[in-house]
């Protein structure tokens, strides 16, 4: 098969082909379903506020299996439940964290630690669903997860970058609400990377050149626009919109390729898959992706908890501090919220296999950067970490706090038919002490 136009440079013929379609397309502009977020923004008196939040970003470190709060954010040195690791003083007076996080201990001025989660659900599926949805799952209503809600609130309709990317290469804890757009629809579903660090179908298929790929898309659009005339349907509109985003998304392919990053930056994130995916996450949010989740699995340390955490927390410490430094250097930290969370924490009691089991009664998450009051601790577990001693909260308050930190009204309602569904369950308040 002889191929033409596949090498760079526009031939005269290609140019004429483009102008042929260009002129035809210009006369058949068609109204597609408008993005509701844009409409909301235009109707709101606080329009400037609404538009400003558009450049806020979120990176979630999802520690699948359940990271131990005792070996990370809430150590209990010297107690029977404390385990072998010490606590170290951080750069914020009065706050100590596990000695497995020496790098984070020197960067705590941007981070708020929440030590008082009691989320009640102690199985992986249920816990993961809760911490992704911010509320109990419902059998009859498919709810959107955090990423989908943030993509819906902050994504741009014609964005050239994906607005929700989820890395989930390990098999542990996948599924169970860990990437669902629910009633918000497939438009806000994550680009879900399970096998490779690059999404599928972003590059040209073999056997077709750039120009041919473009002209057939133009012809498709011409025909589709003609068909749409006089036919009003938001599904129909979404079909045209999805195709219109293809070229932009294809140009985002290079965001998934870190080979061009300087070695010093790559070292900062480390050579592990987790580190590399986090570097991709930084590239994505820098280019405008509002929400990226990077999952790191195998935290479920029913046996050998301390070896497991030595390895995993050390890696987390390196990757997270590398990310924070990089974001700060680029001036992105003020606009980027970095979150660590799991389906639950781990039992203070150490079992016979020197493991810690599932524990949802008093565990920790961390919020860093955008909109967060750094160098603070919210809530308290008791001296052995068995119960919440002060400031007990659930998943809903964490979600409300996240929304608030990003400038999103956590009480905003979506409508599913006639039923209003607020972003967080009614009556939930954000944690004022955590917000800057």
């Amino acid at each position: 098969m002889t191929r033409r136009n596949s090498s760079g440079g526009l031939s005269d013929q290609a140019i004429s082909r483009r102008s042929f379609l260009g002129s035809t397309l210009a006369t058949t502009a068609v109204l597609t379903a408008a993005d509701m977020t844009v409409l909301d923004a235009l109707q709101s008196p606080a329009m400037a506020e609404e538009l400003k939040r558009k450049d806020k970003r979120v990176i979630v470190f999802w520690l699948a299996g359940g990271a131990s709060q005792l070996e990370t954010w809430d150590p209990k040195p010297g107690r029977p439940t404390g385990g072998p690791y010490r606590a170290i003083q951080t750069n914020v007076p009065g706050i100590q964290i596990s000695e497995l996080m020496p790098k984070m201990s020197q960067r705590l001025q941007h981070t708020s630690i929440i030590r008082s989660l009691n989320t009640k659900i102690g199985d992986h599926g249920g816990g993961a669903t809760l911490m992704h949805l911010g509320r109990r799952d419902e059998s009859a209503l498919k709810l959107p997860d955090l990423g989908a809600m943030i993509a819906r609130e902050m994504g741009q309709i014609d964005s050239a970058v994906p607005d929700y990317v989820a890395f989930y290469t390990a098999t542990e804890g996948r599924g169970g609400g860990t990437g669902q757009s629910g009633f918000l629809g497939a438009r806000y579903a994550p680009m879900f990377l399970t096998t490779e660090s690059k999404p599928a179908d972003l590059s040209l298929p073999p056997g077709i050149g750039e120009i041919d790929h473009q002209t057939r898309a133009d012809l498709r659009q011409l025909l589709s626009n003609r068909f749409s005339e006089g036919r009003k349907s938001s599904s129909l509109g979404s079909h045209n919109e999805a195709y219109a985003r293809v070229r932009g998304l294809m140009s985002s392919e290079q965001l998934f390729d870190i080979s061009g990053e300087p070695q010093s930056i790559r070292d900062q994130y480390g050579p592990t898959l987790f580190g590399e995916q986090t570097l991709v996450a930084r590239r994505l949010i820098e280019a405008g992706t509002p929400f990226v989740k990077v999952s790191r699995a195998w935290w479920d340390s029913h046996g050998q908890n301390f070896e497991t955490h030595l390895e995993l927390v050390t890696e987390l410490d390196h990757v997270m501090s590398g990310l924070l430094d990089d974001l700060e250097q680029r001036g992105l930290l003020d606009n980027t919220l970095v979150i660590t969370m799991s389906e639950f924490g781990r039992t203070p009691n150490i079992n016979a296999s020197l493991g810690r089991d599932h524990f949802a009664s008093a565990w920790s998450v961390s919020l860093t950067g955008c909109g967060i009051k750094g160098g603070s601790v919210y809530g308290k577990s008791d001296e052995d970490g068995q119960t919440v001693a002060d400031g007990e909260i659930g998943a809903a308050q964490v979600f409300a706090t996240i929304f608030h930190a990003l400038g999103i009204d956590h009480e905003k309602e979506y409508y599913v038919g006639v039923r209003p569904v607020p972003l967080t369950d009614p009556g939930t308040e954000p944690l004022k002490e955590v917000i800057a």
Partner: protein, 539 residues
């Protein structure tokens, strides 16, 4: 055995609301012996007139055939079928075609697929083993309902319960939603905030019908004991009544919790049965059977009969007479209440014959309107003044794409009867793999960018639909020199209609850019046609 016992004032209100609606139905003048499509048009036209709206014109032949075939046999027409239908000047060709399609084996297969989607709601497993024979013999809907609740493992009917038995809340709610059009999930934690009739007792009542059902190895069993308890919003613990959605409470034999000793014995027995791959013993009183009976009784079957009518209507019109389909309650009246009541009554009187219902609906003028609205403001959708544009299901889309991508000579006009059906079935089967890559549409479906990327860049699109081979459209087009002919054949094959003059002009002009390579020209053209929204939707 049964006891009518309204348990609260709100339930009383619920019952009276239903009976008021019934009384109105009796005043409705549409007699029972009229054709379904005439009744549909009568009521729909009445409202259009009241709203002073002139509906869209009837769709043209090609459009109507494509819509009808997608709805009845799950695929777009072949080029030859479209040409033949358009060429025919036989009177009654529409009715004749509808009857021919309904009699075909593809109709039964498509019904099985559609019912499977409706019943399984994306859950694991499928009911096709059961639904295949059931739809082939046009089994009455009430009989299917009984079969699914009886859950016979031989027939495969047990999959409905089996896929949900681990989550009884879901089983109770799915059953209410699917068979009765009632979503009681809100009432799980509190009385329904919008619908005063729906209380926690409605949710937990439904749950009670399933609470004794359990899984033992490969089999389902049902116990003779066990009560559902719940906390009211006031924190009070209550035992759920065995109550149907209408508020009717069923009487049942007294049951007592077994002793620990008895439980141990039961467990041992069940383990033994599991090991021997045998079903648990049948209960002496089956709560599930009670549900099947009460829901179908004459005074109780309003939810059951109206819900299936509404769901079939939704499938064919893109919007239910009650919308959304799981919100059938007094606060959310039907757009055409008399029509819904008439259709439901007609269904019951004709032994829950879904074929008859489907046939009647697709023969109405309301069904066959154009989907194009030329005026300024399109009329409110519940008037059914203009046909809705509906996304195809994965099976419809994949099969239609497959047919569109094949050399038209693969389906010659002279190929008919069983021979033709066989070939169609082959195509359906070969389309299954691709169908799995497409998302099942829900209400207010949005096409994902993943799908657009797939069609743009996945190797599979080229290998499945743009192949250069003797049996493919691309292979055929490549051999043709005259671009006008290329366009004519391609458009007929992919759109199942002839190209309009200006379309043909634009496409021929496009092809002129590829004069020196007819294969590329054909691939470019076929790709652009196949990925349009015209192919993606039932319009």
């Amino acid at each position: 055995m049964r006891l009518l016992l309204p348990i609260s004032a709100s339930v009383l209100f619920c019952l009276s609301a239903v009976s008021v609606a019934e009384a109105e139905d009796e005043d409705a003048p549409a007699p029972a012996n009229v054709e379904i499509h005439e009744v549909v048009d009568r009521y729909v036209d009445e409202q259009l007139k009241a709203a002073a709206i002139t509906p869209a014109l009837q769709a043209d032949d090609a459009n109507l055939l494509r819509r009808t075939m997608l709805d009845l046999v799950g695929r777009a027409p072949t080029s030859a079928e479209a040409t033949a239908f358009m060429a025919s000047d036989e009177t009654g060709k529409r009715e004749f075609t509808v009857d021919r399609l309904i009699a075909s084996s593809s109709f039964a297969r498509h019904q099985a697929n559609e019912l499977n989607t409706m019943l399984m709601q994306g859950g694991s497993g499928d009911l096709l083993k059961y639904l295949g024979p059931a739809t082939a013999e046009n089994r009455p809907w009430n009989k299917m309902f009984r079969d699914l609740l009886a859950a016979d493992p031989e027939s495969g009917a047990d999959q409905f319960l089996k896929s949900r038995v681990k989550d009884l809340d879901r089983l109770a709610n799915d059953t209410s939603v699917i068979f009765f059009g009632v979503n009681v999930s809100c009432a799980q934690c509190h009385d329904h905030p919008l619908v005063t009739e729906w209380t926690q007792s409605h949710f937990f009542g439904m749950k009670s019908f399933f609470s004794r059902t359990f899984e033992n190895g490969d089999f389902l069993g049902e116990r003779d004991y066990g009560l559902v308890k719940f906390q009211t919003t006031e924190g009070e613990e209550q035992v759920a009544p065995l109550m149907f959605l209408t508020g009717t409470v069923l009487e049942e034999p007294e049951s007592s919790e077994p002793t620990d000793e008895q439980k141990k014995e039961e467990k041992k027995q069940l383990e033994e049965l599991k090991k021997n791959k045998q079903p648990p013993p049948a209960p002496s009183f089956s709560r599930r059977e009670q549900l099947a009976s009460v829901a179908l009784e004459e005074d109780e079957n309003i939810y059951f009969s109206r819900s299936i009518v509404n769901r079939i209507w939704y499938r064919l019109f893109g919007r239910g007479l009650v919308a959304p389909v799981d919100q059938m309650h007094p606060e959310n009246p039907a757009s055409h209440p008399e029509l819904l009541a008439w259709l439901a009554r007609d269904l019951v009187e004709h032994d829950y014959d879904l074929q008859r219902l489907i046939r009647g609906l697709v023969l109405s003028n309301a069904y066959s309107r154009s989907s194009r609205w030329d005026g300024d403001d399109s009329p409110s959708p519940e008037l059914f003044a203009v046909a809705m544009v509906r996304p195809l299901t994965p099976a419809q889309y994949a099969t239609s794409l497959r047919i569109a991508s094949m050399n038209p000579s693969w389906f010659p006009e002279e190929l008919t009867g069983e021979e033709f059906e066989k070939r169609i079935e082959q195509v359906e089967n070969s389309a299954r793999g691709f169908a799995r890559m497409i998302e099942q549409p829900s209400e207010d479906f949005q096409v994902s960018v993943t799908e657009a990327l797939l069609f743009n860049n996945n190797q599979r699109i080229t290998s499945e639909f743009l192949r250069d081979a003797g049996d493919s459209l691309v292979g055929k087009l490549k051999t043709i020199e005259d671009p006008k002919q290329v366009v004519d054949i391609a458009v007929r094959n992919v759109f199942a209609r002839p190209a309009s003059d200006d379309e043909a002009r634009v496409l021929v002009e496009y092809l002129s850019q590829y004069k020196e390579n007819r294969l590329i020209a054909a691939q470019q053209l076929v790709w652009a046609l196949m990925t349009t929204n015209e192919v993606r939707f039932n319009y």
